[in-house]
């Protein structure tokens, strides 16, 4: 295993130290393991908290700031944060108007956020959790854990963050996050695996001409292993899966072609060109887009495509100013 790290056990803390040094506008608490906006808590503002395993940077810590998250709590690599952390973040951003938790749908995340919400309620903080489950690669059923939360998390954090920033009420902020989740779908593809520092070896082995279709964001294998194919074919597989689940024809959409961490930006732009072409050919209009590394799986090569069917209100909230280390415009 070759990593730019000091000690396997310190990677998360060292990264937080770097975040603290690089972004004086954030309050990084190494003890509690939370990253908080320096102006939090703001009286009367609904707090927006997210968190999850580390290794997905810039998600979530890189999305803390004006117009997006109020706090993030990074767990160990690919491991959900613990309730204490989530509670600390919740308390730190509580301005009396309640706090929304954006939770990606993984058993660990859901259980830890649930425990934290109970603890927060003991301190009279009203918490509304919003669970993101946008990954169409997972066959959903009432007997399973359901779909994973992946790329749409960025959409939900940005859009709910904008509403919270503009004074939205607790139910509305949670509501718009849910609406984004319901209108969004994602599908990911891996060209290589990645190595969790503590594990020391890749989570799976892929041959020189094999790729994994339908991966999540935790370095886990996907639904299907297939032969290496072209970017256009990969994009077609992803968008077809999304379109089958949520027909896109006739919609105005926000599209993200997200790098998993190890794929050059040049290739992501090539994939984006293929995606825009596919969407135009299937009757959808792309009106907003993101191309780059936003929700990563350490150094995994590959990409994830996320699509959100916009409404005029969602577009307006997407366009609202945001100023975070990972996403910035309009200010």
């Amino acid at each position: 295993m070759k990593k730019l790290i000091d000690a396997v056990d310190d990677v998360v803390l060292d990264a937080m130290r770097g975040m603290a040094a690089a972004h004086p506008s954030l309050r990084v608490d190494l003890e509690q393991r939370v990253i908080v906006r320096s102006d939090a808590p703001r009286t009367g503002k609904v707090g927006l908290v997210s968190g999850g395993g580390s290794g997905h940077e810039p998600l979530h810590g890189g999305f803390v700031g004006y117009g997006m998250l109020d706090a993030a709590c990074p767990g160990e690599v690919f491991t959900s944060p613990v309730p204490d952390q989530i509670l600390a973040a919740t308390t730190a951003v509580s301005g009396g108007a309640g706090v929304v938790h954006i939770v990606k749908n993984y058993t660990g995340d859901v259980l830890n956020f649930q425990m934290a919400a109970e603890l927060a309620e003991d301190e009279d903080i009203e918490v509304v959790p919003v669970v993101i489950d946008d990954d169409v690669a997972v066959q959903d059923s009432t007997f399973t854990a359901g779909r994973r939360g992946t790329g749409a998390t960025v959409f939900a954090e940005k859009i709910a963050g904008a509403l919270a920033e503009s004074g939205g009420a607790l139910a509305d902020v949670a509501g718009v996050a849910k609406e984004v989740n319901e209108r969004s779908r994602s599908f990911g593809v891996a060209l290589t695996a990645c190595t969790v520092p503590a594990a020391g070896r890749p989570t799976f082995e892929l041959g020189e001409d094999e790729i994994e279709l339908g991966i999540g964001i935790h370095g886990e294998p996907g639904r299907e292993r297939v032969r290496l194919r072209t970017a256009t074919e990969i994009v077609d597989a992803a968008l077809s899966a999304i379109d089958e689940d949520m027909p896109l024809s006739g919609s105005e959409v926000l599209v993200m072609v997200n790098g998993m961490g190890g794929t050059p930006l040049m290739e992501l732009y090539g994939a984006y060109a293929a995606a825009e072409k596919w969407l135009a050919g299937h009757g959808a209009t792309v009106s907003r887009r993101l191309v780059g590394n936003y929700v990563t799986s350490l150094e995994m090569a590959g990409c994830m495509i996320s699509v959100c069917r916009l409404t005029p209100r969602l577009t307006e909230l997407w366009d609202a100013p945001v100023e975070t280390p990972g996403l910035r415009w309009g200010r």
Partner: protein, 202 residues
């Protein structure tokens, strides 16, 4: 029953087997179960002391697991041990019957929180038969019952191999989760191995 020795031994076994647990989790999960539980149980072992009452030991271990582990296993194991500890109450001595009730409470806690049934390919597949086997043998004394529980946990963990996961991270793999042992079931075997060893030596 010396619950302190049980927890310390469990921490040791997890530590020794962390790599194997992580490897199992790499196959159908995200490759962190060994390091998760190891981190949690190290912290728990440190937080414990031999002079705590038996129930308090388990409750402290459980609370520490919740606070330090993360992932699915943190809340699940944490709840299991907290519920078990709660069931033991303030008693200063724990016999075979009391421990049986505690184990049953642990199982209920896990199922309440995680909503997994037997056959979903989770730790419940080791925990549930272990608790049942323990209860059936409880009349023969703690050591025998613990030994029976371990055997059942082992069989239960082994039996997860051909199953398709319906809960936890492995469920995302659908049919590809078949053919691998569930890591949480494997670590549950260690919980009962620690119990059997502790019970045998006391």
């Amino acid at each position: 029953m010396d619950t302190y020795a049980w927890m310390v031994r469990f921490a040791e076994l997890v530590s020794a087997d962390a790599e194997r647990l992580t490897r199992l989790d790499s196959a159908i999960g995200d490759g962190d179960h060994g390091s998760n539980l190891d981190r949690g149980m190290r912290a728990a072992a440190e937080a414990l002391s031999a002079d705590l009452p038996p129930g308090k030991v388990l409750m402290t271990a459980g609370r520490t697991l919740v606070s330090k582990t993360g992932g699915a296993s943190g809340p699940l194991y944490g709840t299991a041990l907290r519920r078990a500890g709660k069931a033991l109450g303030d008693a200063s001595e724990v016999g075979a019957a009391e421990l049986g009730a505690a184990l049953r409470a642990a199982l209920e806690g896990v199922q309440e929180l995680g909503k997994a049934e037997e056959g979903d390919k989770t730790m419940v597949d080791a925990l549930a038969p272990a608790v049942t086997a323990y209860e059936a043998a409880a009349g023969e004394g703690l050591a025998t019952a613990a030994r029976a529980a371990l055997d059942a946990a082992e069989k239960g963990a082994e039996a997860t191999v051909p199953l398709q996961a319906r809960k936890g991270r492995a469920s995302y793999l659908g049919p590809r989760s078949v053919g691998h042992q569930d890591p949480g079931a494997a670590s549950t075997v260690l919980l009962f191995r620690a119990l059997a060893e502790t019970a045998a030596s006391s």
